[in-house]
Structure formats: C-alpha cells, structure tokens
C-alpha cells in the first residue's frame, strides 16, 4: 500500500485513526506491516502490499 493511504484509512470498527508500522517496503510501496488502532487495541495486517481490514473474526 502507498503511505498516502494513511491520510484516509480509518479503523473499520471505531472509524478512528490508525498507526502504521512498516516491516518491509520498497521504492514504490509498503509491502508488509501493521495498522494499529489504539482505541480498539486491534492490529490490521498489511500483506503483499494490501491492507487487510477484515475484522479479526472474519480473517482466514
């Protein structure tokens, strides 16, 4: 995902702000990492460059 996506991405549960943690990135985008909501204490993974915003109970 592009870093600019942080400007609009919200926690799917509370719609609040998210904190980005990058594990791997290249010159184009963030490849893996997490998006963290401190209010919900919930992590959302970034996998293969795509943010996975599924609520935990719906993840595979």
């Amino acid at each position: 995902m592009k870093k600019d996506l942080m400007d609009i991405l919200a926690c799917p549960i509370c719609k609040g702000d998210l904190v980005l943690n990058i594990s791997k990135e290249d010159e184009k985008e963030i490849i893996s990492g997490t998006l963290y909501c401190s209010k919900c204490n919930e992590y959302f993974p970034i996998e293969d460059g795509i943010p996975n915003m599924l609520p935990p109970e719906l993840r595979e």
């Binding site: 919200a10 799917p12 549960i13 795509i50 915003m53």
Partner: protein, 208 residues
C-alpha cells in the same frame, strides 16, 4: 458444481475455483456494468468506492472515467483483492486506484468521503442489507450517489430460474419494491430504478 456450491463460491470466491469465477465475472458482466454505469453522471474528479469489487474490471472501467479522481475497490475475498490489484496494476502504482481487503459491513473509511459508491452483482450476499446500506451511506458525501447494478431481481419472468439460488440460502434476490423499502430504511432519498425485464437486469440509484 451444484447450485449451493455456485452460490457459495460467488459469495466469497476463494482458491483456484474462486479465481476462475473472478475472471469469468470480469468478462461476463462487462455489458451489464456498462449499462448500469450509463445511468449516472460521473465527474472527472469524482472519488468512487466500488464495494464488492471482485476481479476489478468495474474498478478499471470507473478509473477510465475519472481521470482526475480516485477509485477505491474493497472486497472481503483475498483472492478477489489479489486479482483486482493485478488487473489494475498500473493504476494502483500511480495511486489512481487503491484496492483494500475489507467487507461492506465495516468500511475502513471516515464519514462523507465518496461522491459515488457502486455495488455490482454483490448485494445479494451482504450479511445484513439494511445495516450494510447504512454503512455505505455513511461513507458517501452529502448528496452522494449509490449505484446498485444486478443481473437478477425478483420478477415473475425469472422466478423459476432464480428461486433455486435463494432456496439454498446465502443469497437474496430482491424486488424493486424491496430496494425502495431497504434504501428508505437505511436513510437514502430519491430512489430511482430501471429494469430490463427480458434480461432480468436492474439498476438502482439512490441519493444520500
């Protein structure tokens, strides 16, 4: 593949069969999507969200129409998210298109973000249609437009064909009256509906 399996794999495409369904939908639904999109005016700088974007062909059509805007696609299937990203690779790289793994029920966006939300061949499978329509309405700007386009709706011409799909569970086929009632319950106004009874195609346009 029996009807129960057909419904299951279209509701949440996964694995190789799911990928093939996504590719097939990208081809098979093209004319339907073009017909549906023709019902609304789309500004070049519009921000559009395509809910249940599947294999991403509709995202691609929309991106061509909003050269100065943005198109976001969300889907709850990881297989479809991958396929939609692959299909729109150049537009994703240039940030014209963004694909996110997300269900309709809990969209990861703030309120009042999009000029248009589109839902092609997807709301049959939404877990709680009125609540999900409320969530879609939340992310629409004031006076924003919701466009629903489906190739199946409840009509006597197609009752015999359609009822086996709803009988197995997991899929709902709505009538024009249902759409009006559900959208009103979700808070939408000025609902307009166009039907092609001979094809069983329906387009529903609602305003926030």
């Amino acid at each position: 593949m029996d009807i129960e399996e057909v419904v299951r794999i279209h509701a949440n495409p996964s694995g190789e069969d799911g990928r093939n369904v996504g590719l097939e939908m990208n081809e098979h639904h093209y004319e339907l999507w073009k017909w549906g999109i023709g019902h609304i005016s789309i500004g070049q700088d519009s921000w559009i969200l395509d809910v249940g974007c599947g294999g991403g062909r509709a995202v691609s059509i929309l991106a061509d129409l909003v050269k100065a805007g943005k198109v976001y696609g969300v889907d709850h299937s990881s297989e479809m998210v991958g396929l939609a990203t692959e299909l729109n690779r150049d537009a994703v790289d240039s940030e014209h298109v963004t694909i996110i793994h997300s269900p309709v029920s809990e969209l990861p966006f703030p309120d009042d973000m999009f000029d248009i939300v589109t839902a092609f061949e997807t709301c049959y499978f939404w877990p709680d249609i009125v609540e999900d329509l409320k969530e879609v309405r939340r992310v629409l700007k004031d006076d924003g437009t919701l466009l629903i386009v489906n190739e199946m709706y409840e009509h006597s011409n197609f009752g015999e064909r359609n009822s086996p799909f709803t009988d197995v569970g997991g899929m709902n086929i709505f009538s024009p009256q249902d759409y009006g009632d559900m959208l009103e319950s979700a808070g939408f106004s000025s609902v307009e509906i166009d039907e092609v009874p001979e094809n069983n195609w329906i387009t529903v346009i609602a305003k926030k």
